[in-house]
């Protein structure tokens, strides 16, 4: 190795850096990315426990703003089980919608599929389950009012353990 080689290496590295720096910033990095990491997820990731019910912590709940009365929307959150016993979110109810159900969206080769979660949504012992856009959600069917960002809605969540909680959920526009 001599100084000439150092020079060449430095020059090539510098040039390569400047070329890549000159490329438009866009890349296809998001294409086909997994849905979990997408920025559309929107909700604040503050990790704030909004309520505790039995051994379950309800973290960062939010409802998607929706402009159409009679339309649908969804509530998202993280359910964290601090106990050694598995539990299930089995029901949700409230006055905000004609019906409230637990659903799952799946993406299969670009085709969106949504279905009710049969038998409740499992929250594993000492584990957690995330309700998020493009995945599990509490589905609000037939909104009784327009959901505006900044407002809150109240839903009652019931778990298999028998415990339930009236949860106040902020309405947000996903960023």
């Amino acid at each position: 190795m001599n100084k000439f080689m150092h020079w060449m290496t430095a020059a090539l590295v510098a040039a390569a850096l400047s070329i890549s720096a000159c490329q438009p910033a866009m890349s296809g990095g998001h294409a086909g990315g997994d849905m979990g990491g997408m920025e559309m997820g929107g909700g604040p990731n503050e990790g704030k426990v909004a309520a505790t019910v039995g051994g379950i912590e309800i973290v960062d709940p939010w409802a998607r703003a929706a402009a159409m009365e009679g339309g649908n929307s969804a509530i998202y959150m993280v359910l964290k089980n601090t106990s050694g016993t598995a539990d299930k979110l089995v029901a949700a109810s409230g006055e905000v919608a004609a019906a409230i159900e637990i659903h799952e969206t799946k993406m299969d080769n670009g085709v969106m599929q949504m279905q009710p979660v049969e038998g409740g949504l499992e929250v594993p012992a000492n584990g957690s389950v995330e309700l998020k856009p493009g995945g599990y959600h509490v589905m609000l069917i037939g909104l009784t009012k327009v959901l505006k960002a900044g407002e809150t809605v109240t839903v009652k969540l019931t778990f298999e353990s028998g415990a339930s909680v009236d949860l106040t959920v902020p309405v947000m526009e996903p960023k």
Partner: protein, 209 residues
């Protein structure tokens, strides 16, 4: 002994640097280096025209929207999750364009004509942006509108759910250029900024007269 080669090495090294700097500069100036955020159609071609209905009981052939870039997405108002996420993303796209937002139309086509009247789909999409166009039609019209992009949609009965039935459907966003040619396909979950970058690039290719 070092001095014997230091000068030529510096000259060669310097020359290489200058050469590479020129290449880098050319790469910067050469617009074809733009990497689209979606899947680019190998050949930009006009798609088969179709006609749908708007809320004002007006029939709109897709071709009548030519003259602007058109972002087309398919979905249904009953969709609580993926469709609003896509429409919220598209409203961020037009917001980011600022004064150039008039160069782009956003069209949302229902694949659930049974529930989505033209009025209902229009009310739904204008909740995201007043300029968005919601279109529906008869099942035959929807089938014709799904064909050019090979959009798949199927009805799934959901007994035991208040939903009654749900629709499985393709969740891509398609970009047409002002000549009505299909250029790019974006997957669900794409960043609004990524589409804005592509549009700005295309605007630069064909500046507004």
């Amino acid at each position: 002994m070092h001095t014997h080669w230091r000068t030529p090495a510096l000259l060669i090294g310097g020359g290489v640097l200058v050469g590479l700097a020129v290449i880098a500069g050319l790469a910067f100036l050469q617009p074809s280096t733009h990497v689209f955020a979606g899947v680019v159609q190998p050949e930009a071609a006009r798609i088969a025209d179709f006609t749908l209905e708007t809320s004002q009981a007006r029939s709109v052939p897709l071709s009548s929207l030519q003259g602007r870039y058109v972002l087309v997405a398919y979905g249904y108002t009953f969709c609580p999750d993926v469709c609003p996420a896509t429409l919220a993303m598209l409203s961020r796209v037009v917001d980011s364009l600022g004064p150039d937002r008039d160069r782009v139309l956003v069209v949302f086509i229902s694949i659930d004509p049974e529930r989505d009247t033209p009025e209902r789909i229009a009310q739904y999409v204008t909740g995201f942006d007043e300029a968005f166009i919601g279109l529906s039609g008869t099942p035959e019209q929807i089938a014709a509108a799904a064909q050019p992009f090979n959009v798949s949609y199927t009805r799934r009965e959901t007994p035991g759910s208040a939903a009654g039935y749900l629709m499985n459907h393709s969740a891509f966003t398609y970009l047409l250029d002002p000549a009505g040619r299909w250029r790019v396909t974006y997957p669900y979950g794409i960043d609004a900024d990524a589409i804005v970058q592509d549009l700005r690039y295309l605007f630069g290719q064909a500046p507004n007269p």
